[in-house]
């Protein structure tokens, strides 16, 4: 059952098109990431859903109700801003209480009690009387989160929820967001430009490129098969290799653009195709070994593993290798690929 429906929504600013007819259905209680590079339209979409921007065309419904023309204050959605947007003249408690105050359904004492309870939920009840400027960035974000969830919004919108935090706080917040989502079951939609953030937090990732949806899949599926050249490049976890497939007597062979040949277990038939090679499925070997001829371009130390950027003809592939391998840049190597790990992209070349 679709709870939040975005139907062919578009937005133009003068002559530039920010969103080019996006349709998206989001189930109740799901955790969805809108991923894409800056300028892809993801923030515009979030702001249109929140009611802070009017779409040029298209329709948005929540639970069957058309909210496209409703002002933001009547949509009963909540948004957490990247800058947190805490009201600087109010204490943490007053900030969290603000949505209840605007609704005005309970008395002041009850509103304060609930605000205190929500602050306790994010572990900040001991800082209730602090002003935003007297709190750290991480604490401010927790207050912003408490303020976003207190009024039981129909949809929780998060704008780059982890981007302003340092590495350790990011992990804390990530765990907290997931725990909170499990506990409250809020339909959550968040925007990010960080693929790691999207893949680790969301159960579904919607990849946007130039105002259109490029891919819409679960994190797992997207990781295994980016499907489009843009997704492969943006996610960086898998390589997309354009090849020409030829049928041979012992199966199929893929011919790379530089003429090198790769034996395949199976292929979707002859013709031009895109081969998906995950970065951890490529093995580096010395030039004396069999495999595709390539050259090391760069070596990036990642901790437990090392990422190599490898030049293969005109292509640059990412390869994730164990730490003990020591190939300095410029070294010729062989790439060994298990035919079983080859996948085919849905998109043609």
């Amino acid at each position: 059952m679709t709870f939040l429906a975005i139907e062919n929504v578009g937005k133009r600013f003068g002559h530039t098109t920010a969103l080019d007819g996006v349709s998206l259905g989001i189930e109740r209680g799901s955790f969805v990431a809108l991923l894409g590079p800056s300028g892809c339209g993801k923030s515009t979409l979030l702001r249109i859903i929140a009611g802070l921007e009017t779409p040029t065309f298209g329709r948005i419904t929540v639970d069957g109700e058309d909210i496209t023309r409703l002002p933001p204050e009547r949509r009963r959605l909540a948004m957490m801003f990247q800058s947190y947007a805490l009201l600087p003249h109010m204490t943490a408690l007053e900030n969290v209480r603000f949505p209840l105050r605007m609704q005005g359904r309970e008395g002041a004492a009850e509103q304060r009690r609930r605000a205190m309870e929500t602050l306790a939920l994010v572990g900040l009840d001991h800082l209730a009387e602090r002003l935003p400027r007297e709190m750290s960035g991480g604490q401010q974000q927790r207050v912003a989160l408490a303020r976003a969830i207190i009024a039981e919004p129909r949809v929780l919108l998060l704008d780059e929820p982890l981007s302003n935090l340092d590495a350790r706080l990011r992990e804390d917040m990530q765990i907290e967001l997931q725990a909170l989502h499990r506990r409250l079951g809020l339909t959550t939609l968040f925007v990010t430009h960080d693929q790691e953030e999207a893949l680790s937090l969301a159960d579904r990732v919607v990849l946007l490129n130039q105002g259109r949806i490029d891919r819409d899949a679960t994190a797992d599926a997207l990781y295994d098969d980016p499907g489009t050249a843009f997704a492969a490049d943006f996610l960086g976890a898998a390589n997309l290799v354009p090849v020409t497939v030829e049928a041979t007597e012992d199966g199929h062979t893929a011919i790379l653009e530089d003429g090198q040949r790769l034996q395949l277990a199976s292929a979707p038939g002859p013709g031009p195709r895109q081969l998906v090679l995950r970065q951890e499925d490529i093995t580096l070997a010395d030039p004396s070994e069999p495999g595709l001829e390539a050259t090391i371009e760069a070596r990036i130390f990642l901790g437990t593993r090392v990422r190599y950027l490898v030049r293969l003809g005109d292509l640059r592939l990412r390869v994730l290798a164990p730490r003990h391998l020591q190939y300095p840049p410029g070294t010729p190597v062989r790439l060994q690929i298990d035919p079983a790990n080859c996948r085919w992209s849905r998109e043609g070349p």
Partner: protein, 281 residues
Amino acid sequence: MPGAKGGQGLVEPIVLVTPGIALLFGAFLFPVGQILVLSVVPSGEELGAWSNFARFFADDYYLRVAWRTFRLSLLITAATALIGFPLAYAMARAPRWLAFLLLLLTVLPLMTSVVVRTFGWMMVLGRGGPVTDLLMLFGLSARSAVLLQTETGIVVAMVQVLLPFMVLTTLGVIAGIHPHLEEAARTMGAGFYRTLRHVVLPLSLPGLVSGSLLVFAISMSSFITPNLIGGVRLPVMASAIYQQAIHTLDWGFAAAQSTLLLIAVLGLLVPYLALMRRARV
């Protein structure tokens, strides 16, 4: 040579502030000091040191002038704040070209002389002027209503003269309020007006307060506009002082009134500055 750098670090600031300090002393503190001295020096042999002040507080006429000045200044301040705040907000949030146009319209009056603008108001408010005609047209006034030589006329003209001060001070503060705060309030269920009331207004208060102080201080001591619009029937303190100094040649009494005016304005400014200092810590 550790001393050289320290010495040099002090010389430059002194060079920079000297012209300003000199002007302040020569053109402001010295004459004001003279007035203070003059106000307490007895005017006649038989009178005491504070006789000028005693005379002021004993005379019903001067008390009424002082009360009118104070009351009108409050009214003018309130009216400029009421008109200036929405205008400043609109300017802060308008598209660039519109904001520039509004700014130009706001600042333009400052480029013309107060005398010229006041003469304009005299034509508008006076007998046969458009305001009179309009009031008659709508039946709001049976006879030819003249706002010239009324307190209403003074307030209207003064608000126009002082509006730029209020708008410019408030605009600076509102421009510093991040639009995200208003958007956040909107998503939290506050409509446009409630967002203004709960978010923009409290955060613009420093600007509104300093604008109000500026407008109030200028209103209290303004001379040309109240004098030309109000005429002799409605003297304010500045015109009373002018009268004493130029026509009656009672410099001591004029000085005493000036001192009282200065005290009234300082009485508002000093607590404000103290408050702002505490708010910043």
